[in-house]
Amino acid sequence: MNIIMLLVWILILFAVVMLHVAYATYFERKIIGHMQVRVGPMRVGWHGLLQPIADGVKSFFKEDIIPENADKPTFLAAPIICLVAMMTSLAVLPFAKGWVLADIDIGLLFIFAMSSLASYGVVLAGWASNSKYSFLGGLRSMAQVISYEISMGLSLVGVMLMAGSLNLTQIVEAQGDSFLGMYLMPQCIGFFVFFISMLAETNRVPFDLPEAETELVSGYSTEYSGMRYAIFFMAEYIGMMVMASIATICYLGGWNGPFEVALFPPFWFVLKVYLFMFLFIWIRATLPRYRYDQLMDLGWKLLIPLALANIVLTACFRAILA
């Protein structure tokens, strides 16, 4: 019985997240459109509201092209690895008090593990396509993930030190429900490092090198078409949502807000996640792209030292206050 209930919850979560992913694309296109003196999608439905559905249907019926010289099993598996890894990390996210599928004690580590696994999908896609642009995209992705995973992990150590736990629910509860309890202020260096690493981890502008359109055509996904391409796309957006959720949980106090919303406890959580989504999009509309070597410079020479300094500072303050 328990298992069936769990499956039902998983299904509900899956459906809700997929819907959010679909409308995140709409959200992005509309916002970027208005920032760029355009209007964005307008044709399908009122103000283009049905556009994501139309896109989904379209990619579902498109031909699934597999290059003749591709490494077929890997080629087919790569997008699925991406999607599964990203989807799995949703399981440990607490959307509100008690609204979590798996309340495990190493939630944060689990998410790291999953997001690293997702990058395997990207690397394998680049390798398996047997195409030069894809290959370069895969290489870039590998280098980027390795360097930014470190700074991201280190930046969150500060949060772990302050909360004294890796359990995401406990991290939120440790921040209390007042505005002052949020880790945003005491962990401002950590947040800065985390935010930049988060952009890099999700391959968003200005770190969208693995799929840099003007350099590598479409990077690792050059040879993908139809639904397989759409799966990469979904994985990217779920990745954005997961990262935004982590930022919300670790720095903005999770589901806590100025007042309780009676019928829908995750209200504040969703609002904060969308705030980050908006930041993602805003940055995409504003910034140019880094170069490969500059990206590495930034990661190793600025972010990692900063994150280490943050750990030392946090640890010292903890030791003094405790």
Partner: protein, 408 residues
């Protein structure tokens, strides 16, 4: 033929030295500005060898011109640099006028200067748009298109075309400017410098933009001269060479303007040069509007004639007398001088030269076009050696090449 293609990508290491990786970038690539193909030899992402290949857009214009009269060959020049067609038209007309010793009335000279500079603005706006997009700044792209749209609308008001104008003609221009055109242009000039600031706030103060452009694609003045670069690419390296200033044509000797120079010779310097040039263009157009003299728009000795205002019946009768063609072509051979001439004009991309050999006929015996894009593409090989793929893209954008002009 799939059997001949190897199944795996051969990358890695032989005897401690990495093997080179060859990548054929283009002709179908989002950032090679048309159909440029660049054959790259890579070591990781570093470019060891870079061989630009052109010819995918070859349409044989130089040969085609030999079978057209001077007036007819004008339309071919529209299709050279299709982003600044008006400048090509003017360059062609100036060259033919010199060959045929045709005079241009003052009003036509001013109008040509106006449309030439508008064309420069169009071209530079499109350059900025695509250059920024290449480096990843997406929003600048659409902002530039917003302003370019106004200019294209003005061109449409002037001559009915938005891309291929054929507006200047040998000995003048085809139609006079309307009051509406001048007013709208004035409104554009008043608003444009503020828009320039808008672009600059987006990219000029942006750390990432500076990192991508400062010190990348460096060329010294001597190198730039040696590679035959012209236009902003040469001026970005500190060489003061602008045909508008040094061998003025049309009304450029009657207006005041500065030639923007930079000394660094990198992508940022070229970017700054072009941005300053846009402001200078605004300045030039403003003076031309203020000084625009009255008078005819076509010289008395122009070799083809503007269609006069007539009742339709008269036009048909006239056309019949000339074998059905609506534009009356002078068949008087005496007008055409034999000899050769090379005339260069400053188009947005650099120095556009037309070389004619005339055997006294009403069509060129040989027409050669010295197109700046072709020569700039040649410079890629020297600039990009040892840089990264991302820099190659930035450099292509910075050299501002158009393949229609390169391949002719």
């Amino acid at each position: 033929m799939s059997g001949t293609i190897s199944k795996t990508i051969e990358v890695p290491v032989v005897d401690g030295e990495s093997e080179r990786y060859s990548l054929r970038m283009g002709p179908q690539h989002p950032a090679t500005h048309g159909v440029l193909r660049v054959d790259l030899e890579l070591d990781g992402e570093t470019i060891m060898e870079c061989n630009p290949q052109v010819g995918y857009l070859h349409r044989g214009f130089e040969k085609l011109a030999e079978s057209k009269t001077y007036a007819q060959a004008l339309i071919l020049t529209d299709r050279l640099d299709y982003i600044a067609a008006m400048s090509n038209n003017i360059g062609y007309c100036v060259a033919v006028e010199k060959l045929l010793a045709v005079s241009v009335p003052e009003r036509a000279q001013y109008i040509r200067t106006i449309v030439g500079e508008m064309s420069r603005l169009c071209s530079h706006l499109l350059w900025l748009a695509t250059h920024a997009l290449d480096i990843g700044a997406m929003t600048v792209f659409l902002y530039c298109f917003r302003e370019r749209e106004i200019l294209l609308d003005l061109f449409e008001e002037l001559c009915g075309a938005r891309l291929t104008f054929s507006y200047p003609r040998i000995g003048g221009v085809r139609q006079d400017v309307s009051r509406y055109f001048v007013d709208e242009l004035q409104r554009f000039l008043d608003m444009f410098p503020a828009k320039m600031e808008e672009y600059e706030t987006l990219i000029d103060t942006n750390r990432i933009w500076l990192k991508r452009t400062v010190g990348v694609g460096k060329l010294s003045g001597a190198e730039a001269l040696g590679l035959g670069l012209t236009g902003a690419c040469l001026r970005g390296s500190g060489v003061d060479y602008d045909i508008r200033k040094h061998q003025p044509y049309d009304a450029y000797d009657k207006v005041e303007f500065e030639v923007p120079l930079a000394t660094e010779g990198d992508i940022y310097a070229r970017y700054r040069c072009r941005m300053e040039e846009m402001l200078q263009s605004v300045h030039i157009i403003q003076q031309c509007i203020d000084q625009l003299p009255p008078g005819p728009i076509v010289g008395p000795d122009a070799p083809d004639l503007v269609m006069p205002f007539k009742a339709p019946a008269r036009v048909e009768a006239d056309a019949a007398a000339f074998g059905g063609g609506l534009i009356k072509l002078v068949r008087d051979q005496k007008l055409y001088i034999s000899g050769d001439v090379y005339v260069a004009t400053e188009v947005p991309k650099g120095e556009l030269g037309f070389y004619f050999i005339s055997d006294g006929n009403n069509r060129p015996y040989r027409m050669h076009i010295r197109s700046p894009s072709f020569i700039h593409i040649g410079a890629l090989k020297a600039i990009c050696k040892g840089e990264l793929i991302a820099d190659l893209i930035a450099n292509i954008g910075s050299l501002d090449v158009v393949l229609g002009e390169s391949d002719r």
